[in-house]
Each structure stands twice: as C-alpha cells, then as structure tokens.
C-alpha cells in the first residue's frame, strides 16, 4: 500500500519533470552544432591570442607568471561569453513564437517547463564552451609555465560562470519580448558591447569619481582581475587616474569581489523574473 503510494508519487514527479528533461536533451541536440562551432572557436581563439603570438614571435615576451598569463588570456572570455550567450539564448522564448513550434504541441504542458528545459540546455552548452576555453588556456598555462594551475584560476572560472548566467538571463529577458531571433541577437550584442560602453563612459564623464557598480562590463573585469596576486582591498587600489593635460579620467581596474557577485546575481534574478512575467503575458 505504502509502496504503491510511493510509486504514485514517483510517477507524479516523473511526469512533472519529463517535459523539462526531454526539452533539455532536445535542446542539447538542437544546439549541438553551435556548441561545436563555439568550442572550436573558443579553443582557436585561445591558441590564436594566447599561444601563437608567443610561439611564433620570438620577440614577444611571455608574461612573468602563469597568473599573469591567465589574466591576459582571459580578456577574451567576456567577448566569448557575450557572443555565446546571445547566440545560445536569443531563441529561448522568442523562437517559440516566431517559429510557432513548441507551444502548439503543448497547450497542456506548462510552458515554463519548456523554457526551463531550454534554458538549462543552453546553459549547459555554454558552460561547456567556457570550460573548453578555460581548459585550453589552462593547458597552455602548464605548457608555458609548468607546475600546477594557480588556484585563483578556478575562482576566475566560478566568476566567469556567474557572469555567463547573468548575461544569459539578460538575453533571455530580451528574448521574452523581442519578435525574432536575429533581432534579439543583434540587439543584445549591441547593448552588451556598445551601449554598455557608451553608458559607462557617459557616466564617467558626468561623475568622474563614481564607480559604475551597476555595469556588467565593469563587473566582468573581475574575471581576469581576480588573478592578480594581491587583490586590492582598498578602494584607491581599484582604479587608476589618467591625466592628459587638463583632461582627467578614472579607469576602474576591478570591482570588489562581493560587489561583482551581488550584481551578477541581481541581474540574473531580476532579468529572469521580468522575463517570466512578460512570458506569462505574451501572446502569439
């Protein structure tokens, strides 16, 4: 009797999870090619930017330490994350509407389950891409510098993942109200790359002393800056003041660790909640 009840409960969970799981697996298959392309791209860019310049140009000096090497190599991860997230997540909600696919088949299945499955699938693949980047760079770090991998490199990976989740949630949010996949890709890339920069420099122009803590760009600097041996604890160590003649400009090197993590989580939570609300209200 109890067993039967248990079975029933199990059955219920199974049924509830089934759409999520199948969609997850389907998403993996669906975006597999993109994953391969991005992984190859990630590894090629690591080799292209962090290996060949040192291997082929004898003059070009290696950074002093493995950590320095990682730090310079990780600059590209931000671009990779933005592009990857835009390509993997742009279709998450809006393709269902523009291609009239998923929901047609599932009026009975909760549509959130499909999106959650898709989100997790895309996220898994993007984590794979980022991991491929880190592994490639890590192997090269060992190749040039030997020895174990600097432990802060793992922290950097963790922060990169948080950043990825924040960016992908941002893209998901756009996907929830945009009309077409391509428009979403273009808009989010523009916003994340160009608009962010413009806003940041505007704010810096207007309030030269103000730290742009709200900015994803600013906070993403932590991914590479965490590799600095003595992470700055004092405010004045986190920026550099540039002075040309009478022009003064403050360049922020890094956010604080807690600050960046908080902002990433905030972006994630807010974007996902708003996306969920828009998605609930959205009609075909």
């Amino acid at each position: 009797m109890q067993l039967l009840e248990k079975n029933e409960k199990y059955e219920q969970y199974y049924l509830a999870a089934l759409p999520v799981v199948t969609t997850y697996i389907f998403e993996l298959k669906k975006q597999w090619k993109k994953f391969v392309i991005f992984t190859i791209m990630a590894i090629s860019f690591v080799i292209l930017l962090s290996h060949l310049p040192y291997a082929l140009i004898p003059d070009n000096p290696l950074p002093d330490t493995q950590a320095d090497y990682f730090q310079s190599g990780l600059n590209f991860i931000i671009l990779l994350t933005i592009f990857g997230a835009c390509f993997f997540f742009s279709g998450i909600i809006c393709s269902e509407y523009s291609e009239k696919t998923g929901f047609i088949t599932f009026p009975i299945i909760n549509k959130y389950k499909l999106v959650v499955g898709k989100y997790l699938g895309a996220l898994t693949l993007m984590i794979g891409v980022i991991a491929a980047f880190y592994i490639a760079l890590g192997v090269l770090g060992i190749y040039w510098y030997g020895g174990p991998i600097n432990y802060r490199y793992y922290y950097s990976f963790g922060i990169a993942l948080l950043y990825l989740i924040a960016v992908s949630s941002f893209v998901t949010f756009f996907s929830s109200f945009m009309k077409s996949v391509n428009m979403t890709i273009v808009t989010t890339i523009m916003l994340l790359l160009i608009a962010n920069m413009i806003i940041d420099s505007l704010v810096i122009l207007l309030y030269p002393e103000f730290e742009p803590i709200y900015s994803l760009n600013h906070n993403s600097q932590l991914i590479s800056y965490i590799l600095v041996e003595d992470f700055p604890t004092k405010l004045e160590d986190r920026y550099e003041d540039l002075e040309f003649r009478n022009f003064h400009r403050r360049i922020w090197l890094t956010p604080t660790i807690e600050g960046a993590i908080t902002i990433f989580l905030l972006y994630t939570v807010i974007c996902l909640i708003v996306a969920a609300i828009i998605f609930k209200r959205r009609q075909l």
């Binding site: 759409p19 199948t22 696919t101 088949t105």
Partner: protein
C-alpha cells in the same frame, strides 16, 4: 425541425447563451462560451458559442480574416480571450475551464498556422514531441514510422525539416498534431500548400480519425475541401458565427433561394446582352440583394448559361415571388422562344451558401 435550425441560427446571431442538445445523450468535450477577442478596439472574435460533442467533426469555415485562427489560438492558449470561457473535458470526464493548471485535460493535438519547426530532422522533432508528452517509449518509433509512411514522408525521416517544402512541412504539422493519439484534434487550414492528392489523403485521415472516435475541429476558408468530412459546419465571418448546422440543413436553406429556367432555343448572340439586361431590370424587385453573383459579365441576380440555354435566378426566396418571376419570364420569351422548365434546383453548391451566409452579415465598418 427545419424551423428549429433556422431559429438556432437566429439565436446564434443574437448571441444567446450556450447551445444545448437536449436528450441526445452526447458528451460535450469542448465548449466555447461567449468567447470574444479584441485587438485594441478591433473585435476579431465576437461572442462565439460553440458546443462540440464527442466524436463530432466540426468545420469552422470563413473567409480570410474571419477570426478562425484567432479562435483556435485561444483554445491553444496562445492568446488570452478578452472575455468568455473555453471549457474542455478533463481526464475525470468533466468540463474544465482553461487556466494555468491544465495537466489534467485530455490530450490535444494542434495544428496552427504554418509551423516552421526547429532546425532538426523530422524524426528528432517528432520523437521529442512524443517523449515530452509522455507517449509510450516503446511505441514511439513505430508510431512515427507509421505516420511518416501515411503521409509519404518516410523517405525524409532523417532530413532536416528546414529543407522541407511548404507542403511537406504542413504534413509534418498534421503528423505532429495526431502523433500522441490525442482525443481532440484541432486543425487550422490543414490543406494549405498541399497537392490534390495530399488533400484527399488528409480527408481520408480525418475519416480514419473519425472512425477512432476522435473529436475533430477543422478550420478552413475552403468550404468544399472539408464539407464532405464534416458533421457540422460553423460559418464564421467578421468574428461572428453566422451559421452553425449540419450541411444538409444549410443547403436546404439556400436551395429555396435559387431558380432554374430552361429555354427551348438559345438566345441569339446579338440580343443576348440586351435581353439579360432587360430581365435583370424587370426582376430587380425580387432580387436577393445580399448575393453578388460571381460572374464577371453580369452584376445582377440573373445568370445565363449559353451552352445549356438556361437561366439561374437568385431571388429573395419568397413563395409569391416565384410565381411573379415566372410570369415576367413567360412574357419576355412569349414571341420568339419558349420556357420549357422552371424549377428549384435539387442540390445547390455549398459554396453558394457560404457566400450567402457571409454576405448576409453586413461588413463591419472599419474599427469594428
């Protein structure tokens, strides 16, 4: 009985409460109650009431922009109704309003617009659809093969759906909608983009499904495509249900407004135009002003068929008009020709009903 039906049509037009089929013992599987959808101030679907019984095949027929797709999207929960309710049978055998918690409803199959599908192979997509709806794992492959073979898509089982032609994709859409053996199947324009053979196949499929006791709800703007498979037709225009009845009843309704008049000799070619103009003028009074006769050369309610030397006359359907029309015609052809028969047709083109029903309803003015 007949007046009953007419009354019902009248009822629907004035949008009075749900239709009850008292004492038939049939189970309702879906009921649309005062369903209305507005886009801004534009009323796309206006107070629709339809009751669908188990095992019925219902055709939702209307011209482009009538609101068919809008209605179906509301059933699929892709649009929210502005007002009104959609009630659907659940597993417990009761009617349940569509809301957030729909996992207990009976299985649905939908085909809406033209689905584009994901960039995957036919097999992968169908397998995914079946699995996520918890279709028995062991049966999936044979079911997919069976349907692909039925629609002659088996050759392309492992091809990307993106490379499919429009018709092939439409077939995929139909396969997808019946894949998991749903109890209620809702098809929006299933014949679009299909060749004649495939259209016939679809009708055959629908008949098969009928045999299995499925409830089918088909939307189309091509009445003749679905009229022979449907038990009932709901004519929709400008968002309103103009008529909802069996085909025979609808036909009967129209037959009464058509007359055939056979001449002994053909009208000489030189006189043709003037004669028809004259008759038109004389019959002006009796004409059914709602009908626009679909022939380019005549914009009136009299149509002359030169090969068979006969007239088709559309009139207002009144009994006394018939005699008067005959008198007018007799006097017209008294001298140089002869009327050898004057009758009401036994059958009428359903297309005509369709046209008439739609035209009866005054076109809406701009904003609704």
């Amino acid at each position: 009985m007949e007046t009953d039906k007419l009354n019902r049509i009248a009822e629907e037009k004035s949008s009075i409460g749900p239709i009850e089929k008292v004492g038939t013992g049939l189970k309702t599987v879906m009921r649309l109650e005062n369903l209305t959808k507005k886009f801004g101030s534009f009323i796309a679907v206006n107070n629709i009431n339809i009751e669908v019984y188990e095992g019925e095949t219902i055709g939702l027929v209307g011209p482009n922009g009538a609101g068919k797709t809008t209605t179906i999207k509301m059933i699929a929960k892709l649009l929210r109704p502005t007002s009104g309710k959609i009630l659907v049978l659940n597993k417990a055998g009761k009617l349940q309003a569509l809301n957030g918690n729909d996992k207990d409803l009976v299985r649905f199959g939908f085909l809406i617009d033209q689905p584009f599908f994901y960039d995957m192979t036919a097999y992968q997509i169908l397998r995914y659809f079946a699995r996520s709806q918890n279709y028995q794992k062991e049966k999936i492959n044979s079911r997919i093969d069976e349907l692909l073979k039925l629609f002659k898509l088996f050759k392309w089982k492992h091809e990307k759906v993106n490379t499919f032609s429009k018709g092939m994709r439409q077939k995929m859409g139909i396969i997808q909608s019946i894949l998991v053996d749903p109890q209620i199947i809702i098809l929006d324009e299933p014949q679009t983009g299909l060749d004649p053979k495939a259209r016939i196949e679809i009708r055959a499929t629908i008949r098969e499904l009928q045999k299995l006791g499925k409830t089918i709800f088909v939307a189309s703007h091509m009445l003749h495509e679905i009229s022979e498979v449907c038990d009932k037709i709901a004519l929709i225009n400008n968002g309103k249900i103009v008529a909802f009845d069996t085909i025979e009843n609808l036909e009967k309704n129209l037959k009464e407004k058509e007359l055939h008049c056979q001449l002994l000799y053909p009208i000489p070619h030189k006189d043709l135009e003037s004669t028809i103009d004259r008759i038109n003028q004389k019959l002006e009074h009796y004409a059914n002003h709602n009908i626009e006769v679909p022939t380019p050369e005549h914009n009136h309610s009299v149509k002359y068929n030169p090969e068979e030397q006969n007239f088709t006359i559309y009139y207002d359907g009144k009994r006394e008009s018939r005699g008067e029309i005959l008198e007018i015609l007799m006097s017209e052809f008294k001298s140089n020709n002869k009327i050898i028969s004057f009758s009401q047709p036994k059958t009428s083109k359903l297309e005509q009903i369709y046209l008439e029903m739609i035209l009866e309803d005054q076109p809406r003015d701009g904003g609704g």
